[in-house]
Symmetry: C2
Subunit: 308 residues, 2 copies
């Protein structure tokens, strides 16, 4: 029996803009989130890797998500990142998200200690889920071994689903390895699986994926949504080739600073490009090159004229 | 001109015991810290890697350190771990430690995002130091690439010392690579350098190191202190061989659970062995094997009879 999907479609791990003082800028953040939903995103995943989520303090994360809800964004469309290395902090962030009505949370495994055992990771998630103790909690496992180093094996995913069938309902696979995504889709057909890049969107949908959660949705949501809406149509492969080409052009640059450079350019708001350490902004020449490369080769531009 | 050393000798990254409910147990923790100082530790570094420090929540860390100071431990002898991935949290923990009078802090670099630039890491530390904004702050850089993956290059260390000569005063090198420790000692003779293992204690002292900060000090502080006190004497090499042998015997097991198993055994307090996820306790047979191996081959035991 297939469960009714909680999340599906095109989900953006939202970039985090900063003010002059280096603190997260709630105004730019809320404005960007509204724009993403208008562009066609079905949901938002603040505090992912692209969001510099792990560079944000616990209080900063909770305040930003409250700003979104206060500003009228439906919390059912929010899947904030709440995984941290520390059990107590992960429980606190997750409880906060559930209490705000967030539709789900995207949880990294604890990533400081390397090569933890399957039993240790299972216990971590079990203790978070029991610590939150709320039936409304829906957990999406965040598998991103290139960054977190620690990830989710097939047996671990299976054990978590079996023990918490109403809570562990999905997974984002940012392994960049289609064979891994494919194996998860085959092994756990009821799981809401999101490849971490729109490069795998069409292949994913054809094999039961729920959509994608991808950094580049910050600037390409409309085109990606178009693939999602037309994946069974005659143009699907052609549309997919278009979004794949843009993704590849962007990821030739350092991804997060490049995305911010694009938004800063088209919003005519240089402050948008600011990064928090340990990241640094693209040098001006590189930022210009991202804009020019995408415009010249792909006719890429962003339109903020109707934005709030 | 050589600055007066702030820390030197034998420093323990203190194990963190838990209660039945899985929360840190302040009573066992304070008792263990007092015992370590009686055993000959010159200082304590709570919330290091051995402490499962990154598995502890921000509030848990601040509360535990307050317990130590409230219970009469001289904060000048404390060098808590305050590095986190998030700038805001690192500032908060560091400020809290300085306000309590801690002699120093041991700071990991932000370790989620891999391969950050030297400039990005420099900015991170600069922003923490400026964010704390207190002349009493003394930072010890925590280099542990086998776990954190992100570390401190020689040029980065040099840049931080040059920019913050009164603040960045030391480094713990847990690379496990003597050639790296040796290169740091040669390049920065005024830096208080602590190898992360007593295996390098004598070599370190002969080359200008300040002592060592080592996991096994939790159970071998007396013998390690003996090497520190007698490193210029005729027995130094023999004493060093003794502590090296015990270290190697312990590290044949998973280090942190093995240390807790030893303390649980000799305190006759099975609860001491508890680990927080993602770690798990040693299975009973392995725990017995640690105790037996060390007792049989090295005459090792722990005496808690005089402990409070």
């Amino acid at each position: 029996m297939q469960r009714q999907a909680i999340f599906s479609g095109v989900i953006t791990p939202v970039l985090t803009p900063y003010g002059e003082d280096g603190a997260p800028d709630p105004d730019r953040f809320v404005e960007h989130c509204h724009w993403l939903l208008e562009e066609g995103c079905t949901a938002l995943a603040p505090f992912g890797t692209t969001s510099e989520g792990n560079s944000l303090g616990l209080d900063e994360r909770m305040e930003l998500i409250e700003e979104l809800v206060d500003d009228g964004i439906d919390p059912a469309k929010l899947m904030p990142g709440t995984g941290t290395c520390a059990l107590a902090d992960a429980v606190m962030l997750t409880k906060h998200a559930v209490d705000l009505g967030c539709g789900g949370v995207l949880m990294l495994p604890p990533f400081y200690y390397k090569a933890p055992s399957e039993e240790g990771l299972f216990r971590f998630f079990a203790e978070v889920i029991e610590g939150v103790g709320d039936d409304r909690l829906k957990v999406y496992l965040y598998h991103i071994p290139p960054v977190a180093q620690v990830g989710f094996s097939l047996p671990l995913i299976g054990r978590l689903i079996k023990e918490f069938p109403e809570t562990v309902v999905g997974l984002k696979d940012s392994s960049g390895d289609w064979s891994n995504t494919s194996a998860i889709l085959k092994a756990y057909p009821d799981l809401e699986v999101f490849p971490g890049s729109e490069v795998f969107l069409l292949d994913g949908l054809r094999n039961g994926a729920a959509g994608c959660i991808s950094a580049t949705c910050n600037v390409s949501a409309g085109a990606i949504r178009n693939v999602y809406d037309n994946w069974q149509g005659p143009e699907a492969d052609k549309l997919q080739a278009g979004i794949t080409a843009i993704r590849k052009a962007i990821q030739a640059f350092p991804m997060i600073p490049a995305l911010k450079a694009l938004i800063a350019h088209y919003r005519q708001d240089p402050g948008w490009a600011k990064m928090r350490p340990p990241f640094t902004e693209l040098p001006a020449a590189e930022a210009e090159k991202v804009v020019r490369t995408l415009a010249d080769a792909h006719g890429f531009s962003l339109d903020f004229s109707e934005a709030a």
